[in-house]
Symmetry: C2
Subunit: 403 residues, 2 copies
Amino acid sequence: MATVEELKLRVRELENELIKCKQKQNAMEDAHNQALNRPKIDKMSAEVVDSNPYSRLMALKRMGIVEDYEKIRTFSVAVVGVGGVGSVTAEMLTRCGIGKLMLFDYDKVELANMNRLFFQPHQAGLSKVEAAEHTLRNINPDVAFETHNYNITTLENFTHFMDRISRGGLEDGMPVDLVLSCVDNFEARMAINTACNELGQIWMESGVSENAVSGHIQLIVPGETACFACAPPLVVAANIDEKTLKREGVCAASLPTTMGVVAGLLVQNVLKYLLRFGTVSYYLGYNAMQDFFPAMTMKANPQCNDRHCRRQQEEYKKKEATQPKVEVVQEEEEVVHEDNEWGIQLVSEVSDSELQAATGARPDLPEGITVAYTIPAQDAAAGDTVEETEQSLEDLMAQMRKL
Amino acid sequence: MATVEELKLRVRELENELIKCKQKQNAMEDAHNQALNRPKIDKMSAEVVDSNPYSRLMALKRMGIVEDYEKIRTFSVAVVGVGGVGSVTAEMLTRCGIGKLMLFDYDKVELANMNRLFFQPHQAGLSKVEAAEHTLRNINPDVAFETHNYNITTLENFTHFMDRISRGGLEDGMPVDLVLSCVDNFEARMAINTACNELGQIWMESGVSENAVSGHIQLIVPGETACFACAPPLVVAANIDEKTLKREGVCAASLPTTMGVVAGLLVQNVLKYLLRFGTVSYYLGYNAMQDFFPAMTMKANPQCNDRHCRRQQEEYKKKEATQPKVEVVQEEEEVVHEDNEWGIQLVSEVSDSELQAATGARPDLPEGITVAYTIPAQDAAAGDTVEETEQSLEDLMAQMRKL
């Protein structure tokens, strides 16, 4: 039987231990909270102090590059696909202080993604949009985030996706300013294309090849430039659905370098488009083996199989005929860079033997640009292998028509 | 006076509270530890499973791009400057599974750095090398890290820097395989140049312009290609020491896009150089306004003011005369890309009026390439302004000779 003195001693011991435990807990919580937050900033300032996260961006004004950098806060951008390119794209836009980011992905973070920037090992198992939002909000709490953890290609989700990009802008009920495609398969690209054609939504495409050493970005203005159904999407090498590859126990190669460069070129194009500086690229390729960067534009195809694309083309023609020339219209009519002062020319990029790997008819493409992205075979469930993907262009076009 | 019963009750309460506190603390520590670690991996595997962080890199082998990807683990790279370009460079190399990374920087993380990738707000106040090592080790514990929190340009630190890059390779006592310059000022670039000339150490330069919309990377092989003292460093626009700018209450502009692209091009060049694939670029520029990418090479200058550069040139000549032609030697003798199958040509990038901003004599540079980086005036302490930096090339060269 304990004495009162013994019990009193024990109480003191326990009280002290509890104080220490709580102190440590508070310290851990403080560290955790500190890690999570910087205070929100109401108005972007150009003040040059170490504590201002926007000083280097606002300096673009003083440097004569951007007329009104603060305008970045009025824009909303949807990023579809938060993988190797999409996650870095979202991070760059977040650090630039974009008004609102809408993220779509249905994948989970895996350790197998650690060879690209952005996600960290402790996030393995989390949904990509959830993990990304947590990191991005931490980096810049001034950005508004909206995330959707679903596959946009199912009928129900597609309807919701259309609704969100057409009414989920910064001002409720208004469309987003730009949709960015950072997906890794044909189906999702086609879904984005279909939605943007119907809505007349300007968007940008991006992609990297399955061998990890080339990529591209592309601006698509419905009715003006070629849409995804007007011509097969272009990239310097074939790209294959990751899911198809996984079934075969193989995977596409990827590099943080190529994906970082493509994301950088994409977001640079976004900034130039939204903030109106420099020349916005319609198509810009990146061949890492040779450090070669082809540029081009393609007009919309009047025989496009997407009726909304044809409708947009009609509307564009009418607008062009009745309105005074608009900036964007002028640019579209020219082959990009043809008359620029730098004398950039499109030169051969892919060898003839590579082009001949596709044995069918070829569309009228500039030399050096080849057709990319495998269109899933009709019996896609049977599991395509890498070898089976070298279909002729004719086959590809025929299949695309059936879609 | 408390009764025995009351005291016993108090002991039970405290014991319960303490158990709860410790449980919570353990949970927090578990979460913390989990966040910090993935287990080390002894041998890189190409197995396609979600838990393999190297599957997408090892796939480069199967894709026919890289012969032996695992060799990446045998290389060590020093990164000088862990800012907007250097931090992303270090992250890319870490995710690629480089053997060893040596980081040099003396700056602290600030909220003003949050417009570039990598650092996060909760790291503000930490030294850049310390914060970077923590994040990078977390991302890939297989990489060996060595960090130095000092300015390499002071005499004592410079000696230590020389020692570490010449003897701090993966195998102790051996040099690193490559030094990467990711610094933001002339002095530090010159220090790296001096060290690499003396040691015959191959290195790569990188830079972004103060207006944030152009950048470059450059491979420097002492004795073969032009060093930093052979000709003023080249970039598409002038770059100014951040410290100088800060004194005036202004700062250089920067963008996560441009810095991400430059880091991506730099590390891609590093991978191509170390793993022997594709064509290594000697000089690659990035003009974001026009999406233009000039390429070129420059031979070493026999009248270079750096005696170690002249010695390296002599040694290179001897080696060239006596040895059977080595791969690298052949490449060096040609103007890069002159005979490549892609037909890349160097074309005009900067307008004549921009070139004429430098009123003195000009070196024999290809059209479109202009001289960059301000050399601090002799009375640097007086505080240079942006306006004062448009010195003539003659002045720049004269000042450089005095250094």
